[in-house]
Symmetry: C2
Subunit: 379 residues, 2 copies
């Protein structure tokens, strides 16, 4: 895996870079749509390609449980299975084990848990998690980590972090020096600066291909999250990618890019789409709102996506109200397109050293409309 | 509306014809996918176009209740609303009123019923039903009919039929002579030959653009249905299209084509797709079956559709098991493609006067595999 910095914005920590695994390249900052079960919900791989998505995230936990990595291997690996020729980052499953499954026991050896699907009992060690990702045929691998919710005590956070670091060391030891794929460590430590520092420094000493910020977007206040991102990135090497897990919304993406984040994933943009909420340059719009009942406009007046070129807000609203699959498809397509274009524009702005201006202009229009919406709701 | 016979098969009653409304043409026999709520469930209009679908059916009852014909009119009509430039046939809503809504009262004037969505009270007269279809901007209109389930008494069937015929007469009277769209009458009469005869003859005397066979596919035995189709079509003019409502499966389509049916609609092919059942030349396959768990083959070895060219049975099975929208999309795409190609092949066979041979060859392969499946289930 290669990561090459192209430009560092002169007025923020935003950076433009090029991430390459084998013959596949994406430019960062990049948003990775979430394809939990080997499909970005409601979209086909062909549509992702048309939108210009270059990398998706798949969930190791889900695919391990169903259909199982051996099935996917037999079908030629995850790329072939889902007919996707872009990059795939697989998470470690840590977050899902600690949030979805009924957890049985965590030891230094690994985690014993019960499947959320059928209650079956499983044991996953960090080495096994790496092996599963290898069998899936991922491009970028994540190490197993112990995820905590927010808030937790210092003692809890330190305990989980120490185990996560031991797991990271073991995982790194089984990773070959000449591997052409990428392996990322995950910085934990909750909201404790010294733990985040310790985690960063220790992981960096193991020399991973990239560093993820984990344990965020789990309920902490936004201002605290930004603070954590700000000080944690200081301990991370400039020349390696930084991946903020579980973020986010258009505004958060831009804020965190200006703090030096390169990669993002989040299920929210596709989840809210299925419920009828779409992004536009003028803020989020909830299509269930009756004001769109006979609105002939496209979802976003400034968008040139396939949905905005062919369908009206009224039609989308009708489909969402009638719980039609096509409504979820079209809204998801638009939201993923919106974020993909937003990242593209962000990269162009970084290239021109005008990222902060781009961000403020976008936020002003986007947030103002959202505030109006919130006021309406309250009123 | 024009209907021009191209060829009459020499060994069966199957016929090849050309149906034209304005500039839009489809060849018959034709299968019309059902787009109840202005969308063929799980598919986009663009996909229907790519598959080669030339005509879809939309439900007047559903669109009248939601979003309402005035919304659709404001959005430029049903074609523009759903971005569909093929033909649209709208049903009369009769079947839905009598099966979905909580029916309040049927009089000679019309029907009073409560919406299945919100319980609101509505009155629809046959003239109003025509008006709604006009506002929707349909290409082919159906007259309001009183639908009965099976079995019913002779007395019930006769009563409903007489009302249906009075409604048909009134509807026909409000239809302009020079209209460029099509208006179809619906032959009712349950399983009573004299009622079917009377219905056919009376409707034919009113001179509709086409004749539908209604009140079938409502629980009657298959052999009885074929018998009814056989004698009813004898009373219908050769030069007008015959539309069998609510049918069907690949085998039924071919059987009924050989009895002289030109048009079909049915929600089953798309509904079973969403549940994981797909058509293949070797019979239906239920993807939930564990035998497909790691099956790298396409759904149908002889199919060249987008799904069969790009995805495996194993991937489709995984998506269906995981209740992923993409699974429903891909299975639906394949089934609609399968039926569209089947109708194409049927038309080619009629052209070559070899429809019966084509039918037997298809059925032998298709039914044999289905029988094997059934035996397995029992065993």
């Amino acid at each position: 895996m290669q990561f090459r910095l192209i430009n560092q914005d002169s007025h923020s920590k935003a950076r433009l870079a090029c991430l390459r695994v084998g013959q596949k390249v994406v430019e960062t900052p990049v948003f990775m749509p979430v394809g939990t079960q080997a499909t970005v919900k409601a979209l086909s791989s062909e549509e992702l390609g048309k939108i210009g998505v270059g990398i998706v995230l798949c969930n190791t936990y889900h695919l391990y449980l169903r259909p199982g990595q051996s099935v996917i291997k037999k079908l030629g690996g995850l790329h072939h299975f889902m007919n996707w020729d872009g990059l795939i980052l697989t998470d470690s499953g840590g977050y899902q084990i600690f949030s979805l499954s009924s957890l049985q026991k965590t030891t230094d050896e690994g985690v014993i848990f019960r499947s959320h699907i059928d209650g079956s009992r499983h044991f996953l060690a960090p080495e096994k998690v790496l092996e599963i990702q290898r069998i899936l045929g991922s491009d970028i691998f994540m190490v197993l980590d112990e995820c905590l919710s927010y808030p937790v005590s210092y003692r809890q956070a330190r305990g989980a972090l120490e185990r996560t670091l031991r797991w990271a060391k073991r995982t790194r030891a089984t990773w070959g020096e000449s591997e052409d794929k990428g392996l990322f460590g995950i910085v934990q430590g909750s909201a404790f600066r010294d733990l985040r520092k310790r985690a960063s420094e220790e992981l960096v000493s193991y020399q991973f291909d990239g560093y993820a910020l984990g344990g965020l977007s789990v309920g902490e206040p936004l201002s605290l999250r930004r603070e954590i991102i700000e000080y944690t990135t200081e301990y991370l090497p400039v020349e390696k990618p930084r991946y903020l897990m579980g973020v986010g919304t258009p505004g958060e993406l831009l804020e965190d890019i200006s703090l030096g984040i390169d990669m993002f994933d989040c299920a929210l943009p596709t989840r809210i789409a299925r419920n009828g909420t779409v992004f536009t340059g003028e803020g989020k719009k909830n299509l269930r709102n009756s004001q769109y009942k006979d609105d002939a406009n496209p979802l976003d007046l400034d968008c040139d996506c396939y949905v905005c070129r062919n369908y009206s807000r009224a039609y989308l609203r009708h489909l969402i109200q009638a719980r039609e699959i096509l409504g979820m498809r079209l809204a998801t397509y638009h939201n993923v397109y919106f974020l993909t274009r937003l990242m593209e524009k962000a990269r162009e702005a970084i290239k021109r050293n005008s990222f902060e201006r781009f961000k403020s202009e976008f936020m002003e229009k986007f947030e103002e409309e959202n505030k109006k919406l919130d006021l309406k709701k309250e009123g």
